[in-house]
């Protein structure tokens, strides 16, 4: 799992989190539960892709992703960014491990940089 900052201003920071596979709907729901997120929305687009948007509680930002990409995007308040991203990465790891390590590339999913 790789995480890099891709946008930053005085207010917000945006991170790209690259997984080995797209998160499944089940994993999105599990992530919502573990993060205590306030809202999980999903939208079926006209090309058949599903867009997921997880809104963290207390204005702590959003996590978005889609069914056809292993990349997730987190937009969080800049001043709390380090803590939120650390928590998010931890929960992501936990969720993907509990659902079969699929997003870390199965048996080879040990590289957690």
């Amino acid at each position: 799992m790789k995480c890099e900052k891709i946008q930053v201003c005085a207010w917000r920071a945006k991170y790209l989190i690259s997984l080995a596979h797209p998160l499944s709907g089940e994993e999105w729901h599990a992530l919502r539960a573990t993060l205590g997120a306030s809202r999980l929305e999903f939208f079926v687009l006209s090309n058949g892709a599903i867009l997921y948007k997880l809104t963290l509680s207390d204005g702590r930002g959003t996590l978005t992703g889609s069914s056809n990409s292993p990349d997730l995007y987190a937009v969080v308040p800049r001043v709390e960014a380090d803590n939120i991203i650390k928590e998010l990465m931890g929960e992501l790891l936990s969720v993907v491990e509990n659902t079969g390590d699929r997003t870390l590339g199965g048996a080879e999913g040990n590289h957690r940089d």
């Binding site: 900052k5 891709i6 946008q7 930053v8 201003c9 207010w11 939208f43 978005t64 889609s66 995007y73």
Partner: protein, 423 residues
């Protein structure tokens, strides 16, 4: 209770690359662009009364669009009209307002959530006490809406902003009041000199232009239910009447030349061109690194040129007009043709516009070239910050756009070439 939802008023016109609400073209932009353009104009506050541009233009547009909606949908009840205005205000990402305390004589409105004020307070240094607030657009928009709600003539409601988040106030507040004499406002140009076009499918790419446009049209750009603000792509978006942007640019340009003289022409144009860079960088750059892009466009991108085709297919879906790539782009040049470009279409409806081309387009398409070919967004993820902005648009700026044909100079369409230039 109104039976209409704000969403039901949104009418995409594929053949024009436009999105109409109440007969007014609406376009998607982000808070960086909104602030850059507004601040560029506000900088002239010592030169001419900028509220006459920033507030009055919004009033003209809102008056026209709500009058159209109320008439066409047969909405006569004042409370239903108010409810619809509140709903559309949030739906477009402007924030949250309540008109319950408003009468035909005016009244006060206060809100902690207004796009310009909220995002300014969050992003930029606070403004000095005593300086007016930044919620010009909403001030005019609500004034025009009140006129339409009570069937008052355009220009009969005056307004002022009395509090702002940017000065540490807990809310934005405006006061509205009936005037004894009408303000000298002009009716909106509405669809302007609209034209139709076709989203051409280039043969040298597997990027499905129409499919992408349609998928983007279906993207959920929903406001947060608590704030009425639309956060997406890492920015805060609005769906604002395109005529507002165009007319404030044109009127600012005109007023500056009138008051200061011809010597100011180039610096004003440069700022309007720069607004295009700001937009390419923040709005389009944000889109090109997003889950939405990954879901809709990314699967078809094989080459840098595909990124240009992909973003070109997005533009009609956010109401900017139709982009046709006349030749395969390269790192050296991108020849393109614009149909119904929103800025041109509005300007073409004016009797004698001072702008003879779309400066926003000049900055925008050079900005796209810079993102793709200079920054290399197709090869690696980019970090959008001040450092990258300088590399692309200041010391490292290498792209510029020229108009080869302009509808505002008698052309049938806008023809542009974005290329490596002497900048």
């Amino acid at each position: 209770m109104t039976l209409l939802t704000a969403e039901s008023l949104v009418e995409p016109h594929l053949e024009k690359g436009s999105i109409l609400i109440g007969g007014e073209p609406h376009v998607v932009h982000c808070h960086y662009y909104n602030h850059f353009l507004q601040t560029s104009i506000e900088d002239a506050e010592g030169i001419y009364p900028v509220e006459e541009v920033l507030v009055w233009t919004a009033q003209e547009v809102a008056h026209a669009l709500f009058r159209n909606i109320f008439t066409k949908k047969g909405i006569h009840d004042f409370n239903q009209r108010k409810s619809l205005v509140e709903s559309l205000y949030s739906s477009c990402g402007f924030g949250k307002i309540s008109l319950q305390g408003i009468t035909s004589e005016g009244g006060e409105i206060s809100t902690p959530y207004e796009h310009y004020a909220y995002t300014y307070a969050a992003t930029f240094p606070s403004r000095p006490k005593g300086k007016r607030g930044v919620a010009y657009f909403s001030q005019g928009y609500i004034a025009g809406a009140i006129e339409a709600i009570y069937d008052l003539p355009l220009g009969s409601i005056g307004s002022e902003q009395t509090a702002c988040l940017t000065q540490g106030d807990p809310a934005v507040r405006w006061r509205f009041y009936r005037l004894s004499h009408l303000l000298p406002l002009s009716p909106s140009v509405q669809e302007g000199k609209a034209q139709t076009g076709t989203l051409v499918q280039p043969r040298d790419t597997r990027v499905p232009m129409a499919q992408i446009r349609d998928a983007v049209l279906g993207l959920p750009l929903n406001p947060d239910p608590d704030t009425g603000l639309i956060e997406a792509f890492g920015v805060v978006l609005t769906r604002l009447p395109g005529n507002y942007y165009t007319l404030i640019s044109e009127r600012h340009f005109q007023r500056m030349i009138q008051v200061v003289g011809e010597e100011v022409r180039q610096v004003v144009l440069d700022m309007l061109i720069e607004s295009g860079h700001v937009c390419a960088f923040n709005t389009l750059g944000g889109i090109m690194q997003s889950a939405e892009w990954d879901a809709v466009v990314r699967p078809y991108l094989d080459t840098p040129e595909d990124w240009i085709y992909g973003i070109s297919a997005v533009l009609p879906a956010i109401g900017w007009g139709i982009v046709e790539c006349s030749q395969r782009p390269s790192a050296q040049a991108w020849n393109l043709c614009l149909r119904n470009w929103y800025e041109t279409t509005a300007l073409a409806a004016l009797p004698s516009p001072a702008l003879d081309h779309s400066p926003f387009a000049k900055g925008l398409f050079a900005g796209i070239m810079a993102l793709v070919y200079k920054a290399g967004i197709a090869e690696k993820s980019l970090t959008f910050d001040g450092v990258l902005y300088r590399q692309l648009f200041q010391e490292g700026r290498i792209y510029e756009t020229e108009f080869l044909e302009s509808r505002l100079q008698g052309g049938e369409k806008d023809v542009l070439r974005a290329r490596v230039g002497h900048v």
